[in-house]
C-alpha cells in the first residue's frame, strides 16, 4: 500500500479543534502532525515537508479584531512564500471554521468576508451540507449529504454580486447549507445557521485544492457523534470529505 500522506495541522495561539482534525485525518488514512506556529517561524519545521495542510478550528488570538484576522496577519507576515508555493504545488489545504476565516482574510481564498452571524450570537447546532463543487478536490465525487455541527459566531459569508457570480461560474462554491431532506435552505434559519449568501458553507480556490468551510465534519467521524444515533440514524458522514483529500494527496 502507498505511504500515508503527512498532514501539517497548524496550531496557532488559541487553536482548539486540532485534535478533532487529527482524529479525522488519521481515520481517513493520513499521518497528521500538530505543529505549533512558532516551530514553523523558527524554521524547525517547513511546510514543504508535508503533503497536506490543515488550519483547524478555534479562537486564534481570541478572535480579537475579528475572527481569524490576526492569524491571517501571521500567515502573511511569516509564511507568505511557503504557503503560496504549497498551494501552487497543488497539495490539498483545508481551513475549518477559524481556519476558513483565516484563509479568507489572508487572501488564500477569494475575497468576501465572514462576518457576525445574522442571529447576532455564537451558535452550536447540527446542520446538513450538500457537497456541490466538482472543481474542489475535497468535495469532488461526494454524493451523500454531510451532517455535522457548526459552532461559531462569525460564519456569515458576505461578498459583492460580481464575486458571487464569479464563485458560481468557477464552481468554487464547495458546500451549501441544505434542509435535512437535501432541499435548499434558501437562507432560512436554522438550516442556514448564520445568514450566509447563497447558503454558502464552504468555498474553494479556483484551482480547487484549497477548501475553507465553517462547519465541522471532523466532529462526525464516529456513528455515536450523530445527534440521532439512538434513533438508529446518521453515521460518520463527515469522514468522506477527509478521505477525498487524503486520497488526492496520496496520488500526488
Amino acid at each position: 500500500m502507498m505511504t500515508k500522506p503527512k498532514a501539517l495541522i497548524l496550531l496557532a495561539h488559541g487553536t482548539n479543534r486540532d485534535q478533532d482534525a487529527a482524529e479525522a485525518l488519521t481515520l481517513a488514512g493520513a499521518a497528521p502532525e500538530t505543529v505549533p506556529l512558532n516551530l514553523l517561524r523558527e524554521g524547525r519545521r517547513r511546510f514543504d515537508e508535508y503533503q497536506m495542510l490543515v488550519l483547524p478550528g478555534g479562537f486564534s488570538y481570541a478572535d480579537a479584531l475579528g475572527a481569524g484576522k490576526l492569524l491571517a496577519i501571521d500567515l502573511r507576515a511569516y509564511f507568505s512564500d511557503q504557503i503560496q508555493a504549497f498551494v501552487a504545488s497543488g497539495r490539498p489545504v483545508i481551513g475549518i471554521c477559524n481556519g476558513f476565516q483565516a484563509l479568507v482574510k489572508a487572501g488564500l481564498l477569494p475575497g468576501g468576508t465572514l462576518t457576525f452571524n445574522a442571529g447576532g450570537r455564537f451558535e452550536c447546532r447540527w446542520v446538513t451540507l450538500r457537497p456541490v463543487s466538482a472543481a474542489c478536490i475535497w468535495t469532488r465525487g461526494l454524493e451523500d449529504l454531510i451532517a455535522c455541527p457548526v459552532a461559531h459566531g462569525e460564519g456569515n459569508f458576505q461578498a459583492s454580486e460580481p464575486l458571487l457570480s464569479a464563485l458560481r461560474s468557477g464552481d468554487q462554491i464547495a458546500l451549501t447549507y441544505v434542509l435535512p431532506d437535501g432541499s435548499p435552505a434558501e437562507g432560512a434559519y436554522p438550516a442556514n445557521p448564520n445568514g450566509s449568501l447563497l447558503d454558502i458553507a464552504g468555498l474553494c480556490n479556483p484551482a480547487g485544492n484549497v477548501l475553507g468551510l465553517m462547519p465541522h465534519p471532523e466532529n462526525h467521524i464516529h456513528p455515536w457523534q450523530h445527534p440521532l444515533w439512538t434513533r438508529r440514524a446518521g453515521g460518520r458522514s463527515g469522514l468522506p470529505l477527509f478521505e477525498n483529500g487524503v486520497r488526492y494527496a496520496a496520488q500526488l
Partner: protein, 963 residues
C-alpha cells in the same frame, strides 16, 4: 507621545450587537430609545504619520467590507454628536486587563508599525430619543459597569495604566498591644473577615516572635485562614439543639462527620483521590483516570457578571490542570432572580437579574468556547431569593493516563510560575467571598473582580500536558483565591520555600509586595521543577507563548520565606500558618421547619380537563422547567468530538437530556463518562435533610437514565448557604450534610470533592438582609462500559410500551405545581412535606441498568420538577410522538403533578416487555400506556378520559423564552 483616537463602526446600522443592546434597553424600560448604535473605540499612543493611521485602520482595526474607521489626534475639541443624538463612551478602568489592546500592539509590530507604543480600547454608543438624564441611567444600567469601566456622556479619555513609581512599601501592623476591639478593627480595616479568636491567635504568634507582622504576613494569614480557603464552618465544633424535642448533640466537623465519613465507609476501590487534590479522581477504564471539580463564583458574578462567571470557569479549569489532567468537559449550574423583577423591588446597589443572567451566560460561553472545552451539562433556576445573590457553579472534568500526576516537590526544586502577568486584579478575593455583601461592595471590592483571558490559559494546557508526559515537574497547583500566597504556601506546606517577589512579571509597575503576593490575576499555575528540567520547560513555554517565572526554591526549612529585592517581607512557620487556626465553636438549631401552609386541600375538588391542561402547559412554561436551548446553543457542546449524548436531544434536537455522555477522544475502547446534577432550592426552603437526600437521588437517577452504572457513580457537593453564625441557618446546613451522608451510603456513591460558599447574603441599603434559599448542588459523574449502550429520553416508536419504574409517592410539598397553583391565584393545594427517598430505590436503579445494558430499553426519562405529566410531555416533545396513558386510581392532580423521588418513565418495545418486567421482579413497576403515532398526549384514569393535548401545544409551551 501623541495619541490617536479611532472610531470603528459597521457600515450597516443594524449590526447584531447594536440590535441586541437596543432590545435589552427596551426590556429595561428605556422605551423612548429609538436608535442605539454601538461602535468600537481604539486609542493608539505612538508616532504615526497620517498614512500610517490609514494603513493601521485598514490592515488591522477594521474589516473593510463591513466596517469603516475614522480617526484624529487626541485630545482635540470634541466633535459634535450626530444631530438629535447623545453619545456615551465607555473605557476600561486603568489596569483592567485589555487583551484586545495587547493584540493590537503585538500585531502592529508584525505589520511594521514601529512607532506604535501602547493601545487601549473602549466603546462608543450613539443614542437617539433619550434625554441626558435617561442616557446616564442607561449607561449605568446597561452600557457600562462601574466596577471595571468608566463612562461619560461625550468623549472619554483613554485608559493607559498609570506609570506610578515601583513601590517596595511594606507596612508593620501593630497587633501585640491591641485589645479585643483594636484587633477586630484591624480585621475590618483590611477586610480580613477574621473573628476575635483568630485575631488573638495571630497576636499570640507574633508576641512569641517578639515582633509585629508585616502587611504581607497579615494578608497571607487572612487569606490562608479565610472561609473560602479552609472552610472553617465545615471544620467547626457545632453544638446542635433540636427544637423538635430530640437530643441535643455535638458535631465535630461537618465535613469529617458526614461528607468524608460517607466516602470512607463506602471505600470504593475505583476512587483514586478524594478531597486531597485540586479535584476528585476516579478510574475510567483501568488505563485512564478522570477528575471532576465544581467551584462557585457567586460574589464576583453579582457585581461583574461577565468577569465573575468568566473567571469562575477559568478557575475550575485550572483545578483540573492542577491534577495534571486534560480538561474534556465543563458544566454550569446557574441561579438567578426572576427575570421579570421590577427595578424598584431590587435592593440598592444590585444589578437587574436580566443583566446578571446575560452577563454570566456570556462569561461562561466566552471562556469555555475559547478554551475548546465543551459545555455539556447544567441547569438554570430562578427564585426571588437569588436577585441580590446569584449562584454560579462552574465544573470541569479532566482525563489523564493513570498515575502520571506528580504530587511530591523535592528539596532544591525551583518554585516556578507559568502564565499571565500579575496586576491588582482580584485582590483579597478569598476574604471578599467570605463576607456578606452590601450596597458598597461593588465599589469597595471592585479590585476583587478578575478579568479572564482564556487564550492564555489554553497556552497553559498546551504546555502542562506535554510537560507532565516528560516528567518535567514534581508538583503542580493552580493560582486561585489568595494568589501566590495560597498556591506557593500550600505547595511548600511540608518543605518550606524561599521566593523573591521581584521576579514576578507585573502587568504594570507600582504594586506593593503584599499586592504581588496576594493578587488573584488569572491564568497562572505554580509548579515545582527540578533545576535540571528548567531549560526543557522554558523551551516548551517559548513554543506556546507562555511566560515562565522562576521565583525561588523549596528549601526543606519548613518555613515560608518571601523576599522583595532581597529584603525579607514574610517569614512564617508553616506549622502556624496551616495548623494554627483555632477551631470555631458554633451553635445550631434544628427541627424548626417552616410551618407547612394550612391552605385548604384541592383533594375532593372535581378536576376539570382544562385545569389539568392549563396546569401542564403552565408547568412546561415555568422558567425552571422550560427549554434552556437559547443558552445551551451559545455554548460549544461538540468541540473535542466526544459528546455522545448531548444536552438537547430528540428528533428536533430540542428536548432535555437527563445527563450527558462523553467518549473522550484518546481514551481507547468504548468506555464513557456520564455527567449530571441534582439541585432543588424549593425543597431546601422546607426540609434541608430531605432536600439533600432528594438531590443526591436526582443526581444518581439522571445518570442511570442514560445508562451509567449505578455501582460506579461519584458525587460532588457544593453548598451555597447564608450566614452560618445564625443558628437556624447553620442548623439547616447540619441537616443537609447529614442528608448527604445518608444518601451517599444508600446509593453507595462516594463524595470525591466538594466546596461550600457561605455568607450568601446581601445587606441592602434598606437595612434588610437578603439571604438565598439553602441551595445544595450535587454533581454526579458516572462511568459506562460502552457508550453505544447509552439511552436518550425521546420516545422512539409508536406501539412501544411505557412503564413507570420506582416507588411512586407523589407529594405537593415544594412542588412546582404548588408554585404555579399559588401564582395562578387558584385554589392551592395543602402544604405537605417534601418527598422522601425510598430504601428500594437503589435496587430499582440496578434493575434498570441491567435492562439498559442488555439493550431492552428504548428511552428513559426521570420524574423531577412538575412530576409525571411533565416527564411524559418532555418525552413526547423529544420523539414528536404521542402517548396514551391510563393513570392508576387516585387524585389525578397528585398523580400527574405531585413530585416524587426514585422514579423514571421507561419505553420498551413489546417484544422486550417480558424480559424487562422479569428484571423488575419484586420491584415497583407499573405499565402506564403506549407510544402513539398521533402526536398527542392523551391521559385517562381507569379508562375515563381526562385530557388530550397535541404535542405541538406542549412544544410551544416548553419553548417559552426565559425572559
Amino acid at each position: 507621545m501623541p495619541v490617536y483616537r479611532f472610531i470603528v463602526r459597521f457600515r450597516r446600522a443594524d449590526d447584531p450587537r447594536s440590535v441586541g443592546l437596543l432590545a435589552d434597553a427596551h426590556a429595561l424600560g428605556f422605551t423612548a430609545l429609538t436608535r442605539l448604535e454601538c461602535q468600537d473605540l481604539v486609542f493608539i499612543e505612538g508616532q504615526l504619520s497620517p498614512e500610517e493611521c490609514q494603513q493601521l485602520a485598514l490592515s488591522l482595526l477594521i474589516d473593510p467590507l463591513t466596517q469603516v474607521a475614522e480617526w484624529r489626534a487626541w485630545p482635540a475639541p470634541p466633535a459634535d454628536p450626530p444631530p438629535g443624538a447623545l453619545v456615551v463612551e465607555v473605557a476600561l478602568r486603568p489596569g483592567v486587563t485589555d487583551p484586545v489592546a495587547d493584540e493590537i500592539v503585538r500585531a502592529a509590530g508584525e505589520l511594521g508599525f514601529a512607532g506604535l507604543r501602547r493601545a487601549s480600547t473602549g466603546l462608543r454608543f450613539v443614542l437617539e430619543g433619550l434625554q441626558a438624564e435617561a442616557a446616564e441611567r442607561l449607561a449605568d444600567g446597561l452600557l457600562a459597569n462601574g466596577v471595571i469601566q468608566r463612562w461619560t456622556v461625550g468623549e472619554i479619555p483613554p485608559s493607559f495604566p498609570q506609570q506610578s513609581a515601583s513601590s517596595g512599601e511594606v507596612a508593620q501592623i501593630p497587633l501585640r498591644q491591641a485589645d479585643a476591639e483594636g484587633l477586630l478593627a484591624v480585621s475590618r480595616a483590611r477586610r480580613a473577615a477574621l473573628d476575635l479568636a483568630e485575631m488573638q491567635a495571630i497576636q499570640a504568634y507574633f508576641r512569641r516572635q517578639g515582633r509585629e507582622p508585616t502587611d504581607v504576613e497579615f494578608e497571607t494569614i487572612a487569606q490562608t485562614w479565610s472561609e473560602h480557603c479552609v472552610h472553617k464552618t465545615f471544620k467547626a465544633l457545632i453544638e446542635v439543639e433540636d427544637l423538635a424535642g430530640g437530643q441535643a448533640f455535638t458535631v465535630n466537623g461537618l465535613f469529617q462527620t458526614y461528607i468524608r465519613a460517607a466516602t470512607e465507609k463506602i471505600a470504593a476501590p475505583w476512587v483514586l483521590s478524594a478531597f486531597v487534590d485540586n479535584a476528585g479522581i476516579i478510574d475510567l477504564d483501568g488505563e485512564n483516570e478522570i477528575s471532576f471539580k465544581v467551584e462557585t463564583h457567586n460574589h464576583p458574578s453579582a457585581i461583574e457578571p461577565f468577569g465573575g462567571a468568566n473567571t469562575g470557569v477559568g478557575g475550575v479549569i485550572r483545578d483540573v490542570l492542577g491534577v495534571s489532567h486534560k480538561p474534556v468537559a465543563n458544566t454550569d449550574v446557574l441561579c438567578f432572580g426572576m427575570q421579570t423583577a421590577s427595578c424598584d423591588d431590587l435592593p440598592a446597589g444590585v444589578l437587574h437579574p436580566r443583566r446578571i443572567l446575560s452577563g454570566v451566560v456570556a462569561g461562561v460561553q466566552d471562556y469555555g468556547n475559547k478554551m475548546g472545552i465543551p459545555t455539556v451539562n447544567g441547569a438554570i433556576l430562578f427564585d426571588p431569593g437569588y436577585a441580590a445573590n446569584p449562584l454560579v457553579f462552574c465544573g470541569t472534568v479532566g482525563i489523564a493516563p493513570r498515575r502520571l500526576h506528580p504530587r511530591q516537590p523535592r528539596r532544591g526544586d525551583r518554585v516556578v510560575v507559568l502564565g499571565g502577568g500579575t496586576g491588582r486584579d482580584g485582590l483579597r478575593g478569598a476574604t471578599f467571598s467570605s463576607m456578606t455583601m452590601d450596597a458598597q461592595t461593588g465599589e469597595v471590592a471592585g479590585a476583587s473582580v478578575q478579568i479572564g483571558n482564556p487564550i492564555v490559559e489554553k497556552g497553559l494546557v498546551d504546555v502542562i500536558l506535554p510537560a507532565r508526559d516528560r516528567r518535567l515537574y514534581t508538583a503542580i497547583t493552580d493560582c486561585g483565591a489568595g494568589g501566590l500566597s495560597s498556591a506557593v504556601g500550600e505547595m511548600a506546606a511540608g518543605l518550606g520555600c524561599e521566593v523573591e517577589l521581584a521576579h514576578v512579571r507585573l502587568k504594570y509597575p507600582g504594586l506593593a509586595p503584599w499586592e504581588i503576593w496576594l493578587s488573584e490575576a488569572q491564568e497562572r499555575m505554580v509548579l515545582a521543577v527540578p533545576p535540571q528540567n528548567l531549560p526543557a520547560l522554558r523551551e516548551l513555554c517559548a513554543v506556546h507563548n507562555v511566560d515562565l517565572m522562576d521565583l525561588g526554591e523549596f528549601t526543606g526549612s519548613g518555613r515560608l520565606v518571601v523576599r522583595y529585592r532581597g529584603r525579607v517581607v514574610l517569614d512564617l512557620d508553616n506549622q502556624f500558618l496551616h495548623h494554627g487556626l483555632p477551631q470555631r465553636r458554633l451553635r445550631a438549631v434544628v427541627g424548626r421547619h417552616p410551618p407547612l401552609s394550612s391552605r385548604p386541600s384541592a383533594a375532593g375538588e372535581t378536576v376539570s380537563a382544562s385545569r389539568l391542561t392549563d396546569s401542564l402547559l403552565a408547568l412546561l412554561a415555568h422558567p425552571n422547567i422550560a427549554s434552556k436551548a437559547e443558552v445551551i446553543r451559545i455554548y460549544d457542546h461538540e468541540v473535542q468530538g466526544g459528546t455522545a449524548v448531548k444536552p438537547l436531544t430528540g428528533v428536533q434536537m430540542d428536548a432535555p437530556s437527563d445527563a450527558c455522555v462523553l467518549r473522550p477522544l484518546g481514551a481507547r475502547g468504548q468506555a464513557g463518562i456520564a455527567l449530571a446534577n441534582g439541585i432543588n432550592p424549593e425543597y431546601g426552603k422546607r426540609d434541608a435533610y430531605r432536600m439533600a437526600m432528594a438531590v443526591v437521588d436526582e443526581a444518581v437517577r439522571n445518570l442511570v437514565a442514560v445508562g451509567a452504572d449505578p455501582g460506579r457513580i461519584a458525587l460532588l457537593d457544593n453548598f451555597c448557604w447564608g450566614d452560618p453564625l445564625r443558628p437556624e441557618t447553620l442548623g439547616a446546613l447540619v441537616e443537609a450534610a447529614r442528608g448527604c451522608h445518608d444518601a451517599a451510603l444508600l446509593f453507595g456513591a462516594p463524595f470525591i470533592s466538594g466546596k461550600d460558599s457561605l455568607n450568601n447574603e446581601y445587606l441592602g441599603a434598606d437595612g434588610q438582609r437578603h439571604a438565598i434559599p439553602p441551595t445544595l448542588l450535587i454533581s454526579s459523574i458516572g462511568v459506562m462500559a460502552d457508550v453505544r449502550r447509552a439511552v436518550t429520553m425521546d420516545l422512539k416508536e409508536a406501539g412501544n410500551l411505557l412503564y413507570l419504574a420506582g416507588e411512586f409517592a407523589p407529594t405537593f410539598g415544594g412542588s412546582h405545581f404548588d408554585l404555579i397553583a399559588s401564582e395562578g391565584g387558584r385554589l392551592p393545594v395543602a402544604g405537605e412535606p417534601v418527598p422522601a427517598v425510598s430504601a428500594v430505590t437503589p435496587r430499582v436503579y440496578a434493575a434498570l441498568h441491567r435492562t439498559i445494558a442488555a439493550g431492552l430499553v428504548r428511552a428513559a426519562h426521570d420524574l423531577s420538577e412538575g412530576g409525571l405529566a411533565v416527564a411524559a410531555a418532555e418525552m413526547c416533545i423529544g420523539g414528536r410522538l404521542g402517548l396514551d396513558l391510563d393513570l392508576p386510581p387516585g387524585d389525578p392532580l397528585r398523580l400527574l403533578f405531585g413530585e416524587t423521588t426514585g422514579c423514571l418513565l421507561v419505553e420498551v418495545a413489546p417484544q422486550q416487555a417480558e424480559a424487562f418486567e422479569a428484571a423488575f421482579h419484586g420491584l415497583p413497576l407499573g405499565k402506564l400506556g403506549r407510544v402513539a403515532e398521533t402526536p398527542a398526549l392523551t391521559v385517562s384514569a381507569g379508562g375515563r378520559p381526562l385530557f388530550r393535548l397535541p404535542v405541538s401545544d406542549l412544544v410551544a409551551a416548553w419553548n417559552t423564552p426565559l425572559r
